[in-house]
């Protein structure tokens, strides 16, 4: 187990800059999730940690020691690949023990290690099979077994669940979390799935086009996003971002133009930065769960404001009901109780939880604090 430090990391392929000065530090035993849209450089970052790609500038330290220039096998890491990358010509047991075989570890030790790992992952009955005879979920387990058996300082996972079907993905997610809790090894985990990121991570790094947008705990990333990209990327359904005019009429007020319906007028929450935007338009960010039916609203805060909104579509989803409210040119998704009485095509009161509201400068896309 060891901490991992990524220090001003740059990576270019010729003239294309893929990573532009990444700074991340994860403590010993932490679970770091790299998240971001496809092509933002997540795999590249992971591969530089593994030593599979050279770095152009900066440094990577595992347990305080620089690993720059070290061969992948010498970095004391293990990696699980998106395609699982099981050696097709070897049995499951051979796959798991290949690394030990290369390191010339004797057979009894190897077999004991295979047995231990097979036990943890419950794959004893698969040991003699070839990868082609396994299901997707079983391959995933074997790939994890091959990583586990190395007992490394840091585990690297590159979208390990993205090839599984939805149900299995949820099961394996829990399993990975359980493994982490049990072993406490530092993990770096790449995904483009923000739910995976929020459920697994102790720290999340949000990347976009090779730049680190925000680095923080899942709670910070979710509730305190630094810019509009992070706000929209994390959370499902994603955060509602609505234009509103800041006015000063007996205290700061926010006015959301309603178009053919009445304007929505909300008192501004405590946010010093907003004062500078009087007379201007800002982006109001409210998550769907902060926009709900008045009865279902969280009464523990006194920042609940009710406003009449035109309901366009209602989508029951079992545990919740989602409603699409039309506010001027914008569509806002509200998350209501499953049994909330709501009819599409009517003006209905919705409760805005303003203690959860955040604001962004529409020009810079940065948070207004």
């Amino acid at each position: 187990m060891a901490s991992l430090t990524i220090d001003n990391l740059h990576k270019s392929y010729g003239a294309t800059k893929v990573l532009k000065g990444i700074n991340i530090e994860i403590e010993d035993g932490g679970f770091l999730v790299l998240v971001g849209p496809s092509g933002c450089g997540k795999s590249t970052l992971l591969n530089t940690i593994a030593g599979l790609e050279e770095i152009t500038e900066g440094d990577i330290r595992i347990g305080g020691t620089s690993v720059a220039g070290l061969h992948p096998s010498k970095r004391d890491i293990a990696m699980v690949f998106q395609s699982y990358a099981l050696y097709p010509n070897m049995t499951v047991a051979q796959n798991i023990s290949f690394g030990m075989e290369i390191r010339k570890i004797d057979k009894p030790t190897r077999e004991a290690a295979i047995k231990r790992v097979a036990d943890v992952l419950q794959i004893e009955e698969l040991l003699k099979r070839k990868p082609s005879q396994l299901s997707g979920g079983q391959r995933q387990r074997v790939a994890m077994g091959r990583a586990l058996v190395r007992d490394p300082q840091v585990f690297l996972f590159d979208e390990p669940l993205s090839n599984l079907d939805a149900k299995l993905r949820v099961d394996m997610r829990t399993e990975i979390k359980r493994l982490h809790q049990r072993m406490g090894t530092t993990i770096v985990y790449v995904t483009h799935d923000q739910i995976e990121a929020l459920t697994l991570a102790t720290k999340i790094a949000v990347l976009k086009a090779g730049e680190l947008q925000q680095f923080g705990t899942p709670d910070e990333i979710y509730n305190d996003p630094i810019n509009m990209f992070v706000a929209e990327f994390m959370g499902s359904p994603s955060m509602n971002l609505l234009d509103c005019d800041v006015t000063n009429e007996d205290g700061l007020m926010l006015r959301l133009a309603g178009g053919q319906y009445p304007d929505v007028v909300l008192p501004a929450p405590d946010c010093d930065g907003l004062a500078r935007y009087v007379g201007q338009t800002v982006k109001l960010g409210v998550r769907p769960e902060a926009l709900t039916d008045p009865e279902g609203a969280n009464r523990s805060t006194d920042r609940i404001v009710e406003a009449m909104c035109y309901i366009d579509v209602v989508e029951p989803a079992g545990s919740d009901t989602f409603a699409v409210a039309k506010i001027g040119a914008f569509e806002a998704i509200a998350r209501l109780r499953a049994d909330a009485q709501i009819t599409p095509g009517e003006l209905t009161p919705l409760a805005f939880n303003m203690s959860k509201a955040v604001f962004f400068d529409p020009a810079t896309q940065q948070r207004i604090r």
Binding site: N47, A50, L52, H71, P72, S73, I77, A78, M79, F81, Q82, S83, A85, Y87, P88, N89, F98, G99, I102, R103, R146
Partner: protein, 291 residues
């Protein structure tokens, strides 16, 4: 429903047509083989008086024995036997060398890419299209310089070098579709360049090895030009010997022996195709579909 009813008869018609065409071509290609086989087991008398297509009146294997060990080739009556051995001694190492080199080239060109890899590959590809005749004189000069003129190893070298272009092409395209993540996994497991090649890549290369071996073997075994140009008295390959047998100007033309000799000379390539033809097609398909 009605669609499939309509489709069925026209489908049958198309099939009948396809099979007719196919059978025609099968006959077209098998006829020469039939003529060769039939006439190689006839007596000379039979051939002279009868018809080329007719079955033998009297079955005899003497022409085969003669072609193999008695026939007059050049100045000595050795039969094709020593030349067959020459061909084997030339072709087997040359095929092995060019296949292994092609595999290594393909491995480096796809998985250990270096600046200019595509240019190197392009130049190797170009070698596939250079007509043999162009290289004859430079090749003769090089063989002379290293003192391998007219030797078995000289011919091995020529065939080996000439084979690299095609074998590299085959392996490069096959390995391009081979998942790079497997190589990376093996690197993390600590495997070296050659360990990855031997333990990960080669075991998955069966189909393309078969394709390359068949291709190289057929071309090199059937080669006449290099054999005629660079072989000496002790290194003449079977194709050249067969030519000498058929063209010898002394005595009567023993057509039955010539036919038997020709079949003997063609036998190894035939066997290679029959034994591994299935894999050949499968290998070509695998590359095509995945690539």
């Amino acid at each position: 429903m009605s669609h499939s009813e309509n489709a069925a008869p026209s489908n049958k018609l198309v099939r009948a047509l396809i099979y007719t065409v196919l059978i025609f071509f099968v006959i077209y290609y098998l006829l020469p083989l039939y003529v060769m086989l039939v006439n190689s087991v006839k007596t000379l008398e039979d051939i002279r008086t009868g018809n080329l297509m007719a079955l033998p009146k009297l079955l005899t294997f003497q022409p085969w024995r003669d072609a193999w060990s008695n026939a007059q080739i050049g100045v000595e009556a050795t039969g094709l036997k020593p030349y067959f051995a020459n061909s084997l001694m030339i072709v087997v190492p040359a095929v092995a060398l060019s296949t292994i080199t092609g595999a290594l080239n393909g491995y480096v060109l796809t998985k250990y890419r270096f600046p200019g890899a595509d240019i190197v590959f392009g130049m190797l590809l170009l070698s596939c299209f250079i007509p043999f005749q162009i290289v004859l004189i430079p090749a003769a000069r090089i063989l002379g310089l290293i003192g391998w003129s007219g030797t078995i190893q000289g011919l091995i070298l020529i065939h080996f070098v000439y084979g690299i272009g095609f074998s590299t092409l085959f392996f490069r395209n096959y390995y391009a579709a081979f998942p790079t993540e497997l190589i990376r996994a093996a690197q993390i497991d600590g495997a070296s360049f050659f360990q990855i090649f031997r333990r990960i890549l080669l075991p998955s290369s069966g189909p393309i090895i078969v394709v390359t071996v068949i291709w190289q073997f057929t071309n090199q075994w059937n080669d006449f030009l290099f054999g005629a140009s660079f072989s000496g008295y002790t290194s003449t390959p079977i194709t050249v010997a067969l030519n000498n047998l058929v063209n010898s100007s002394t005595g009567v033309k023993e057509y039955n022996v010539h036919f038997a000799g020709a079949v003997l000379a063609a036998l190894p390539t035939l066997i290679v195709y029959i034994v591994s033809g299935r894999y050949f097609v499968r290998g070509l398909m695998a590359g095509a579909v995945k690539g």
